[in-house]
Amino acid sequence: MQAYWKRSQRKLAPWLFLAPGLAMFALYVIIPIFQSMAISFYDWDGLGEKIWIGTANYVELIDDDAFYTSLKNNVIWLVLYLLAVPAGLMIAIFLNQTVWGIRAYKSLFFFPFVISQVVVGLMFSWFYAPNFGLFYKLIETVTGDGVAILADERFVTYGIIVAGLWPQIAYVMILYLTGLNNVAPDQVEAARLDGAKGWRMLWYVILPQLRPATFIAVVVTVIGALRSFDLVSIMTNGGPYGSSRVLSFYMYEQALSEYGYRMGYGAAIAVVLFAIMMVFISGFIWKMWRDETER
């Protein structure tokens, strides 16, 4: 025993250190994934008997308008949420200077990320509120007729995404600010001597050095867009008539809300959402793997 320990100590130690984390990860992440998959083949209200119905939940999903509305909204979220990356970069570059009081400005820009999503949602719903909201009043003054963003199926998803972008931009900004700290000053100096400035400096000298920050920013933004739930729940509850639903909200609605308790159907939606996320997550992991091994 002693001899075995001595011999393979270096091989075993990392696994021993990993064990608690792996156990938790398995218990709270891996096992529930398979449980969800299993539940998605049942008709179950959470109380009574589970009835095996095979793929019926998925068949229903294919023919469900609300599912396609949610899917479409998720795609809109994904595309527009990525605007946070260039926007965050711009603000970071703008704030990356040494003038008096810059720390105060930085913290002000970072502020929306610190407050809870629930508060962000409430603030924006008042901002959009018909009759007294600031935005509503503004539109009313300009066009003569106010638009209730959150009651109009054409605008509601965009209205929520704007609310979501506000803290997300701040988050990306912080990622880039730390990245900018690590930009090598000698390279910037050398580029300057060679006559680079403005866009060319940004594109060929700064951005390549920011690649790790960009990667993280894209990852957190994509995942943030796919799991967007709190803002939808706070601002519209999926309304008007379900037109601002996203997959995660639809899943919650079917499985756990007041009118839900279709655990199987909710689980089926969760599995689809998981599959979509897996596409991105495997892409990210593959890239990280490649970067690690290339080194």
Binding site: D45, L47, D65, Y128, A151, N237, Y241
Partner: protein, 412 residues
């Protein structure tokens, strides 16, 4: 989830305490959602009176947040059952009854003659010919209106639906919303649908529709929406109703920007907080549409049940018999500001809305619970979304009804 956690914490705390209580005192654990001020006061009084009458019983109350309770009940019924729990009548209790989570309390009804005294609510407490709980309060729905606005526009309270629509044209010309509602939480529009359906097609049709026996694409359903379109198409309804809550719409009525509001009696408190009084807040029964139909009304009923896992069933039944009594219901509903379900109980005659409601309900042909309590959850949700969409885009009616028909095929 947060609510559930606090609830569970309270529950554990309560159980720990009950363990150390004096041996000869029997405990009765009661989980309630009566966290709002008036219901809380009413239940405090109810429990104090019960304990005074039964000094050997100690009632332990676990108070849950009103919304959080709807999730929590599913957990505590299966995991750690109390002896008594609040819930609602009609189809809302069906999942628990069918899953065997509520006890049959038909014997309490028979031993205390409740079939007679609680006659108006008996049907909504009955599944498979048995009673599954005891109702203690309900409230009427109808049209609340601003008398000052009526006076300023020079119109009188309508007697028929046609008169109501004619009034709307007058209000519209004066720049006032004839009917206001706030549909962001969906349920207020279900009240409008229920009334239009019960007035157009009658109670039996409405019950068959919510029970899934009638197709949503049926011409009689379309007739209901045709009546509704008379309000929606000319723009008689508050424009951005989908963005506002029911309280925001109540403010419009108080400010005189809207004339009528189809609502439940609980809204009276909100109107009065906004500054209205018995003098300028009016109430009327929803007007007749199809002449000669027996008049049915909405009266959502709140109930108390004994969970299947209750430990102290004998005292729980004692409590149900107590809460069904006329004098107890009179006192309790006096505090709640609602109507007692026991027909021998009395209401405060100085409150015009309560006495109007009592008259309305006791003379009604039949009582409906409310769309989301009569129809199963999945149908209720899809239906209310459909109603909201119709009130924004009346031209999409056919697509909406097709969709509801698809849900009907799925949900029953």
């Amino acid at each position: 989830m947060v609510h559930f956690k606090t609830g569970a914490l309270a529950l554990t705390a309560a159980l720990l305490m009950s363990g150390s209580a004096i041996a000869q005192q029997r405990t009765l654990v009661f989980n309630t959602d009566t966290s709002d001020p008036a219901p809380k006061a009413a239940f405090d009084q109810l429990i104090a009176d019960f304990e005074a009458e039964n000094p050997d019983v100690d009632v332990v109350v676990n108070m849950f947040d009103h919304e959080g309770y709807k999730t929590a009940i599913r957990n505590f019924l299966t995991a750690d059952s109390p002896d008594l729990a609040n819930w609602y009548a009609g189809n809302r209790m069906a999942p628990f009854v069918n899953a065997g989570q509520f006890q049959d309390v038909t014997d309490v009804w028979e031993a205390n003659g409740l079939g007679e005294a609680l006659g108006s609510a008996k049907a909504s407490m009955t599944i498979d010919g048995k009673q599954w709980g005891v109702p203690y309060t309900y409230y009427q729905w109808g049209i609340y209106y601003n008398k000052d606005v009526y006076k300023a526009a020079g119109v009188t309270e309508p007697k028929t639906w046609d008169e109501f629509i004619a009034n709307c044209a007058v209000f519209k010309a004066a720049g006032i919303d004839c009917l206001t509602t706030g549909s962001s939480a969906l349920w207020p529009v279900a009240g409008i649908f229920d009334y239009l359906d019960m007035r157009t097609n009658g109670y039996e049709f409405h019950m068959d529709l919510t029970a899934g026996k009638i197709a949503w694409t049926d011409d009689r359903v379309k007739a209901v929406f045709a009546e509704w379109a008379k309000l929606v198409e000319p723009g008689y309804v508050t424009e951005n109703h989908a963005a506002i809550d029911w309280q925001d719409a109540a403010a419009l009525l108080v400010q005189g920007k809207a004339a009528n509001y189809v609502m439940g009696n609980f809204a009276v408190a909100t109107f009065k907080e906004g500054g209205m009084t018995n003098d300028n807040l009016g109430f009327m029964v929803f007007p007749e549409i199809t002449p000669g139909l027996p008049r049915a009304e909405e009266a959502p009923t709140d109930t108390i049940h004994i969970p299947a896992g209750a430990k102290n069933v004998a005292d729980a039944k004692l409590f149900l018999a107590f809460v069904a009594r006329a004098d107890v219901q009179t006192k309790m509903n006096g505090i709640l500001g609602q109507l007692p379900t026991n027909k021998n109980a009395t209401v405060d005659e100085t409150d015009p809305f309560l006495s109007a409601g009592f008259a309305e309900l006791s003379s009604a042909y039949a009582l409906a619970q409310f769309f989301d309590r009569d129809a199963p959850a999945e149908m209720a949700k899809a239906g209310m979304e459909g109603f909201q969409e119709f009130m924004v885009h009346p031209d999409r009616l056919d697509a909406i009804l097709e969709r509801l028909e698809k849900v009907r095929a799925q949900a029953y």
